[in-house]
Symmetry: C2
Subunit: 310 residues, 2 copies
Amino acid sequence: MVDSPAPRKRKGERALAADMGWAETFIAVDWGTTNRRAWRIAGGTVEQEFEDGRGVLSVAKPDFPAAVAEVRERLGDHPMLMAGMIGSTRGWVEAAYVPCPAGLDEVAAALTWAEPARTAIVPGLSNRDPPDVMRGEEVQILGAVAAGLIPANCIVCHPGTHNKWAVVADGKLARFRTVMTGEMFSLLKEHSILSDLLTDDMGIDEAFRAGVSQGVGGRALTAELFSVRAGVLLGRRRKEDATDFTSGLLIGTDVAASLGEAGDGEVFVMGRPDLTRLYAAAIAIAGREASEIDGEAAFLAGIKAIAGQT
Amino acid sequence: MVDSPAPRKRKGERALAADMGWAETFIAVDWGTTNRRAWRIAGGTVEQEFEDGRGVLSVAKPDFPAAVAEVRERLGDHPMLMAGMIGSTRGWVEAAYVPCPAGLDEVAAALTWAEPARTAIVPGLSNRDPPDVMRGEEVQILGAVAAGLIPANCIVCHPGTHNKWAVVADGKLARFRTVMTGEMFSLLKEHSILSDLLTDDMGIDEAFRAGVSQGVGGRALTAELFSVRAGVLLGRRRKEDATDFTSGLLIGTDVAASLGEAGDGEVFVMGRPDLTRLYAAAIAIAGREASEIDGEAAFLAGIKAIAGQT
């Protein structure tokens, strides 16, 4: 819960957002680390949108008011509801974490107001043990529940730089775990001894499947990674297979460990389609089935629900 | 085996090196990725030495003859016997890998001569399944056997950027595995979301022991890593513990997986004393004992044995 400069009004906390004037027309923003995406929504319908590279890391702290104003210049002078890294220590205004288990009611009740009645930031979620944090994915996951895209009890995998595995129970986000799979792949690709081997686009092929199987097998990831290079040096692995094998290895290791922790339940992979297909393929190799959910549709469902536009 | 421009002479291959004139005075070089170390050895005794930052990555390909000449300018105009990354694709002259199992005889018989009778490079070793390669550590490990620093049957852990776990059997290096633990720590420290937390020197304290225990527990490394950041964000972990916890986590994960693969046997940790003490402490937490062996003493024993100066 955060201190809010906005007055608390009648009824449940959930009514707060609606009371602030979202109901007619508002701007929703998913403001991440490297990108931001914004939609003007009126009566539940998207009227206009844009995406650009102005993620929080590209904006200096004093420049956030201007970066926010720029969104209004493009989409109109409306109230704004923002989610993601914009509310982090590296963002504009820090929005406190709501502890799990949490549903849309708890999230909507804990908005941080950057300008009273005009501009609000959705809180992140925190997990107690092990300590973990999430910003942005909670809108998608809880939005998907609200829109009936996923059931009230299930497991959600949300791949990205920091892959989130969430357990949804009774319609709330009960607990979650972050796995640095995407960031690890980037580190290896950009800065490691494997850099000159990891130059292709990621795809689903035999090398990917072999990597997943190796990862699911549960041997030490840091040992398997070096064998990618040694295999090429010794002529035992094709250089052009290195990217897919390595991506499969990282994803397979992630999937095996995380499905084990998450337990039984139907699995949904949510997010960018280019990533959800890789994870869905890996989850199938690990012996479970997964349905893919488009992250944008889920985000819009969640942000509209928080704004009272269900 | 590599083609050698030097004539093969009488007796066993091992005699080759001695016949080339190492026996009186020679220069031994351990030429790594980021550093090189050189010793002038006469009749088995080190007379003079130096270490500098001219690792292979700092030398452009055409500049290697000059970089080699510089060693002779400092230590005298003697035959040179070199080991390490100088024989890699990124080094001066590529020295082929000798397949495991291999002992000092096989290594001494497969020198690559950069200049006939003057300058030779020790081959690396290769492991068949999983594919793996080693350059430089084999001189230390087989040298330690030759000098009686370790028994003819044991397990050796050689920490570094690419940590090597070797099984020694009947005095030969039977098989080995590389784990990218050191490089992974560097990637996280230099380029990751944990960079601003990993700023202290590594030490052995409660945070290190907690990290090792977590790593030995075998949960997914990439998940545990993110909890370092989340723990600090949520005030559940002290920022000043992050370096030691993370180093413990990586080393503990490495130790648990690698000891399991290596099997039973007395464990020796060989290399730089600042690293061997961290690994010896982690191995003890994992329930095994390890003796520390100074890497320089082992290297000198190995290179002298290859040169016939036992």
